[in-house]
């Protein structure tokens, strides 16, 4: 049944998978032995958009991802389509945060608009209406009519209390990932398990990194740090997170992780390193799903995760070369192994 249902999707994903960069190509790009790749769309081939690293993909890259996602979701319907569309929705969250931030700081509409991402056919937020609001109260009233109605009350309280904006950002992110986990669970049998593995890996990664930051960078008490996590982990269950939240130090948390995570994060010194290693794990799981399974929706999601990885890497390589930075330094920043097996100090 799934063969018939996902035949076209499977074929599309397999064709798209040819665009993923392999390690040889990445190293060749890093070392300048080649300067372009067929995997990178022509419009991104000469990414001269400055040397500043913003941590997020900008419009050109997101347009590529959305374009490919639009092709993948075309043959889908129901929960499967909903899940993949929702995956792209996180780029739209950036727009929501930009608008809220802009309204709070009194930026003119034109200035806010410049920082917005074009979501094309996958746009769900009524961006134009939100931009036209004259006050935060009006913005939140308008948000009451969208899928974000559940966070507007919380947002009002936070803003009344003068809470830092990152708390609202975190609430928005929490809302998003809870929704993502819920959509992954709706799908039936084979796809559901594979999707749970990928989505769960992403959520575990975020939960662990957030927990480390909340407890040891912001010094939140355990109860608060735990509450702010996403309630839909995979291998890091609620009970385990509660235990980890009560640990007194970074090293203590790492030492008390489940075995699979302990092996992965052994020796990490900070949350940045932990982030890189956890991302590698997510990519590993996605690669397994993409190359060792067939005829399921999870392959499409796995492709999108890996494609985003490659576009980030390309962006980092181009900007690193423009700095200019040594190839080994770029490798380290990307979490790639050094060719000589050495370490960069």
């Amino acid at each position: 049944m799934s063969v018939a249902r996902y035949a076209y999707l499977n074929a599309c994903v397999s064709v798209f998978a040819e665009r993923l960069l392999d390690m040889d190509e990445i190293h060749a790009l890093l070392e300048g032995r080649i300067t372009r790749s067929d995997a990178i769309p022509p419009e991104l081939a000469n990414d001269a958009s400055g040397t500043g690293f913003t941590g997020e993909l900008d419009q050109g890259y997101i347009s590529v991802l959305l374009r490919e996602l639009a092709v993948l979701i075309r043959p889908l319907s129901g929960p499967a389509r909903d899940l993949l569309s929702y995956w792209a929705h996180r780029f739209e969250l950036t727009n929501l945060k930009v608008i809220i931030r802009g309204k709070m700081t009194g930026q003119p509409q034109a200035a806010i608009e410049q920082d917005l991402l074009d979501m094309g056919s996958l746009q769900r937020l009524p961006t134009a209406e939100l931009l036209q609001t004259d006050s935060l109260e009006e913005l939140l009233r308008r948000l009451d009519e969208t899928a974000y109605a559940t966070i507007t009350d919380q947002a009002r309280q936070m803003l009344e209390r003068g809470e830092a904006l990152f708390a609202l950002d975190a609430a928005i992110d929490r809302h998003y990932f809870t929704g993502l986990a819920r959509r992954g669970n709706v799908l039936q049998s084979g796809s559901s398990q594979l999707l749970r593995a990928i989505v769960g890996s992403v959520i575990d990664h975020i939960n662990l990194v957030w927990l480390l930051r909340y407890r040891f960078a912001y010094n939140f008490p355990p109860a608060q740090a735990y509450y702010l996590l996403i309630p839909a982990g995979h291998r890091l269950t609620s009970g385990r997170l509660q235990q980890l939240a009560q640990r007194a130090s970074f090293e203590d948390v790492i030492a008390n992780l489940p075995e699979s995570f302990a092996r992965l994060l052994a020796g990490t010194r900070n949350s940045t390193e932990a982030t890189l290693r956890l991302e590698l794990e997510t990519w590993r799981i996605s690669s397994n799903v993409l190359y060792h399974t067939s005829f399921n929706v999870a392959r499409a999601l796995a492709y999108m995760v890996l494609r985003e990885r490659d576009l980030r890497r390309w962006r980092a390589i181009v900007r690193g070369r423009n700095l200019p930075a040594e190839p080994d330094m770029i490798r380290t920043a990307l979490g790639l192994p050094l060719p000589t097996g050495g370490q960069l100090h």
Partner: protein, 639 residues
């Protein structure tokens, strides 16, 4: 009549200060479809009106929100006098609207807070009954304890489990005692020393502390009265707020000023639209557009009168290579409007294409009549078209037309509400000679297809596609082959042999089609080219045959119409007097509605598929003139 109106490309150069006024004039004029200027963009590098558009956009969105707030309809009609709106006037208007909207927004926020408070109080009222289930003295909820931190409040139900787990980490416990509309009411308690640790958790969980009234001391009736009074106060406040909103909105000066603001924006809108296409340099701006040839002189006079010569206007005919970009404006009598609308439903004719409205109107009405021929039912349809003309709007003439045609064919068939004895058939009753009906339908189909093919040839010649006009399956070659096949079939049946001329003509036609298809496949492999050419030639023949046979439905439905009546009368004859007449009446209504609808659909299908798809590209540009009110794309004008 048979082609869209002739157009001229007009170039206007004027002073920047006069641009809003000119835009208003052009909008009022109603026959100027703007385009980007043809003048070199290097010599006119500036875009006009950016600040004006920004001011307009802000004012418009605020006005829309204000109008929605007061539940008014946005006025869009033109208002005299037609004075141009300057940018300072727009800004002043925008500032006033901003001020008004600020007050409206505050009022909206107050209403939202009241609704929220009302909702919580309502839940509390419902929850009051649940307090007895928790079996504690409500006084303890007020008391300060030295060791125990106890609180009562609400939070969204989806956050409950998470909060309980988080509170457990801080040594608190939570008791949920009521749930309603996605909100949980609960009591939490823990050691007083941990109170600071849970504040942030409660905030993150969207916790709202419940203000427990003093009366919550074990007097439920008084507590209930107090809550009810609170709700009533909130309702009164909301009503008062709403009353103030309505009073404010109804104030004549305020209402008049809002109306004036709306009219100002209506007058400013044409320049907003036009300025996106204007380019300028210094004090000069230029814009181009399409104007119907017949309306050009009026445009010139209007500009001369209002701009006193402070403009330069030039006009030219469309170039051959821009015929696809010239907009099409269909111009017909009012009674042809519904048919033109059906043509536009398929697509807009290209500028130089034949406008098929008149042939469509004639053929549509005749085909409908032939399939639905009955004097009585036709008269009913025509009468309905007259009586309900207001409700039918522009489709009134179409209904009257098809009704009259049905009545005419009813006379020809001798049928009145299905009875074939009341009046003599001027021609024949369909069931008396079905083969004749089929021959007539076939003949009609042949004529229709020949006409459609001739129109195709004409359209292609106009476009300069000589080769397609001559050698395509829908061109001369196809027509020759088709007519040859028909003549051949006729001669074979009549005389028993084909002769020489007809086969030669057919071969010539098919050969030309084959050759045309062969040439199109240049660059492909030989076998592939042969295969494609053979298949396309075969398809051309089969298409002609199947399209022709498609018209047999004209006869089929005319027979069907009679057959349905036969069935109705058969049913009616089984019943007694009253039952007979009821059956006949209901049967006629059934046929009128159901078969009438089916026949209309079949007629449109024949027109669109056998007709339009042959000669009509339908990808023309509709003529969208600058206008004072927002209207959907106009490609139609009353003569």
């Amino acid at each position: 009549m048979l082609r869209p109106q002739r157009m001229k490309r007009v170039e206007l150069i004027l002073l920047k200060d006069d641009a809003p006024r000119a835009a208003l004039l052009l909008a009022d004029y109603g026959s100027f479809a703007p385009e980007f200027t043809e003048l070199d963009s290097a010599s006119l590098p500036e875009l006009a009106g950016e600040d004006y558009r920004a001011a307009y956009g802000e004012a418009k969105t605020r006005l829309d929100r204000i109008v929605a707030h007061f539940e008014m309809a946005t006025p869009t009609e033109r208002a005299e006098p037609l004075q141009a709106v300057t940018e300072p006037q727009l800004r002043e208007l925008g500032a006033w609207l901003k001020q008004i909207w600020s007050r409206c927004s505050e009022a909206d926020e107050r209403m939202r807070q009241m609704r929220e408070a009302h909702r919580r109080t309502e839940q509390l009222l419902q929850g009051l009954d649940r307090f007895r289930h928790i079996d504690i003295d409500l006084t303890r909820l007020h008391a300060q304890h030295s060791l125990l931190d106890m609180r009562i409040g609400t939070l969204p139900a989806e956050n409950l489990q998470r909060l309980e787990e988080a509170l457990r980490l801080a040594g608190y416990t939570a008791i949920s005692f009521f749930f309603a509309e996605g909100t949980t009411h609960l009591i939490i308690a823990g050691a007083i020393g941990q109170a600071g640790n849970i504040e942030r958790v409660l905030q993150a969980a969207n916790w709202h502390a419940t203000v427990v009234p003093e009366e919550f001391h074990g007097k439920p009736a008084e507590v209930r009265a107090n809550l009810a009074a609170r709700m009533q106060r909130l309702e009164q406040q909301a009503e008062e707020e709403d009353r103030q909103r309505r009073t404010w909105g109804a104030q004549p000066e305020f209402h008049a000023r809002l109306l004036e603001a709306a009219h100002t924006l209506v007058r400013a809108a044409p320049y907003v639209q036009l300025s996106t296409l204007m380019r300028g340099r210094g004090e000069l701006v230029a814009v181009s557009g399409w104007v119907p040839d017949l309306a050009l002189e009026r445009l010139r006079h209007g500009l001369q009168e209002h701009l006193a010569g402070r403009f330069v206007q030039s006009a030219r005919n469309p170039h051959a290579d821009e015929h696809l970009r010239v907009p099409s404006l269909l111009s017909h009598r009012r009674w042809l409007r519904p048919f033109a609308a059906l043509v536009l439903n398929y697509g807009v004719p290209r500028y130089d294409e034949i406008d098929p409205t008149i042939p469509f109107a004639v053929s549509f009405v005749l085909m409908f009549g032939m399939m639905f021929g009955d004097l009585g039912q036709g008269a009913v349809i025509a009468l309905a078209g007259v009586l309900f003309r207001r409700r039918l709007g522009s489709y009134g003439p179409l209904v009257v037309g098809v009704g009259a045609s049905s009545a005419l064919f009813g006379l020809l068939y001798g049928s009145v509400f299905g009875y074939e004895g009341f009046i003599p058939a001027v021609w024949i009753s369909p069931l008396s000679d079905p083969m004749l009906m089929l021959r007539v339908a076939l003949g009609w189909g042949v004529g229709f297809i020949v006409l459609a093919t001739l129109l195709t040839i004409y359209n292609r010649l106009i476009e300069g596609r000589l080769r397609d006009a001559l050698l395509d399956s829908r061109g001369v070659a196809g027509l020759v082959a088709y007519l040859g096949l028909l003549a051949g079939a006729w001669k074979l049946v009549a005389a028993g042999h084909l002769g020489i001329v007809i086969p030669l003509a057919v071969c010539a036609g098919l050969g030309a089609i084959f050759e045309g298809s062969w040439k199109k496949g240049a660059g492909s492999a030989f076998t592939e080219r042969v295969l494609i050419a053979v298949v396309e030639t075969y398809e051309a023949v089969m298409t002609y045959i199947s399209n022709t046979l498609s018209f047999l439905r004209l006869a089929a439905f005319s027979l069907n119409h009679v057959a349905l009546f036969v069935a109705i009368f058969a049913l009616g004859n089984m019943l007694h007097n009253a039952g007979y007449w009821v059956t006949v009446l209901l049967g006629n209504i059934f046929i009128l509605v159901l078969e009438g609808g089916i026949v209309a659909i079949q007629t449109i299908r024949l027109e669109y598929y056998e007709g339009f798809s042959r000669f009509f590209s339908g990808d023309g540009r509709p003529f969208r003139p600058l206008a004072l009110v927002n209207e959907p794309g106009i490609a139609l004008q009353d003569r």
